[in-house]
Amino acid sequence: MRPAYDDNVFINCPFDEAYRPMFRALVFTVHACGMTARSALEVDNGAEVRIEKITRIIGQCRHSIHDISHTDADAASGLPRMNMPFELGLFLGAKRYGGPRHQSKTCIIFDRERYRYQQFLSDIAGQDIRAHRNDPAELIRSVRNALATMRPARLPSGQLIREQYEAFLLEVADVCAEMQLDPEDLGHRDLAEVIIAWLERNPGHPRSISGAADE
């Protein structure tokens, strides 16, 4: 049985409405690969300082996915959004200074275009930056291929995961209606639970072959 740490994936991405289709595709793909998506959205505890929540989750995750594509200036304030690059730095710091347990941490980094980061985050030069072109299908394929290099288990193909995700999208509204939930207002934890249950009841689910441990 693999420990949860090895299967936890820290998701560092925008949480705004415009990014929601990408976020859902991302969370679905992580779970379809038999791993567990973790993010700062999973706990809404006003007593926990945000940075402590983020560092706690980073400490519990061996893997991470960072999307730095939405660092553009905010329309209202004119200021850039720095949270994603900041949390990428935290994760890299944990890997560098966190001791033996964290030296094997892995990062998958996305931007809209592959070399755009050189203009605003050149310190990460040399790392493999992937481009998703704001396309959920491309994000699914790319995340699956990256996770396949980190997992001992066989993973379903990107094509299969994409088809599963399209089937999931057709049914998620009805599933939510059965539970009196608003599909447009699912929190991270609820979204993950619905995805896990849907994958378990539909073919091609890889958890049965991965031996992944639930936390």
């Binding site: 049914e171 539970m179 009196q180 619905v194 249950a197 009841r201």
Partner: protein, 49 residues
């Protein structure tokens, strides 16, 4: 109105953590409806020679 005349507050699925069995039940119900619709659609097609 005295407080003791208010109807009891019912727990709602919107509050707290979702129960896995409730989600599974909902997923299976939706899946069964889809399979039934697919079977009816297939049965309504004219048989090919």
């Amino acid at each position: 109105m005295p407080a003791n005349q208010w109807p009891p507050i019912q727990p709602t699925p919107l509050k707290g953590k979702l129960k896995k069995e409730d989600i599974i039940r909902a997923v299976e119900k939706v899946k069964a409806a889809r399979l039934k619709a697919e079977a009816e659609k297939a049965a309504s097609r004219p048989a090919s020679k």
